[in-house]
């Protein structure tokens, strides 16, 4: 599974993208976050307050409860501030 980080999530984690193989118990985006938090202090810090975290699966916005399909590209970022 490919995971992407943007803005301050990327800054806290220290890199923009990684390939991960979470256990099969990880079904939803929220599950993935719980699992990622244990990977490094940077991950733990980035995901400390998930109320500020938004996610996309295969480049479409999703709720954190969304199920992750096989081979998905999952992205994490703060609320957008474009324009």
């Amino acid at each position: 599974m490919k995971v992407l980080y943007f803005a301050w999530l990327r800054a806290k984690i220290g890199f923009a993208t990684e390939c991960v193989t979470p256990p099969t118990s990880v079904i939803s985006v929220a599950d993935l976050i719980v699992w990622l938090k244990c990977q490094s202090p940077g991950h733990a810090s980035a995901f400390a307050d998930t109320s500020c975290v938004r996610a996309a699966i295969n480049q479409e916005f999703v709720d954190l409860e969304a199920k992750i399909p096989p081979g998905a590209e999952v992205a994490f970022f703060p609320p957008v501030t474009g324009g």
Partner: protein, 152 residues
Amino acid sequence: MTIRIQKECFDIGMEIERLVGQNTAIGGVTSFVGYVRDFSKESGVVAMTLEHYPGMTERMLEQIEAEAHQRWHLEAALIIHRFGRMTVGEPIVLVVTAASHRHAAFESAEFLMDWLKTKAPFWKCEETADGNSHWVDARESDDLAASRWDVD
């Protein structure tokens, strides 16, 4: 469908002229340009860097523009959004809508901007004169503005 994500600046007059072209059914063209201001919430901003999600950005802008074409009878529409580092006073985003009637042009341009602000995957990191930088928080007023266009 005309959307562009680019590092480079844009020439507003030329973009409008190119969009209008020889289409004499166009009665009105509304454009909006967003600039890097020097007083977002912190003051003393001298520059900012816009990060985006390549791939998803194009997808979302296309969706947003398609929605505008569905809601209004438009002759043409254009979205240009820059990314990378920009200094105060530089233009960030250009939206142009062309229609036979002016209200369609005005409304759809405002719609595009409201949706861009809340649905396009861009993130602003501002630099202040003291050398510090910080990520800009999303504004509730932008969500509110975008929700005006909800249909349900």
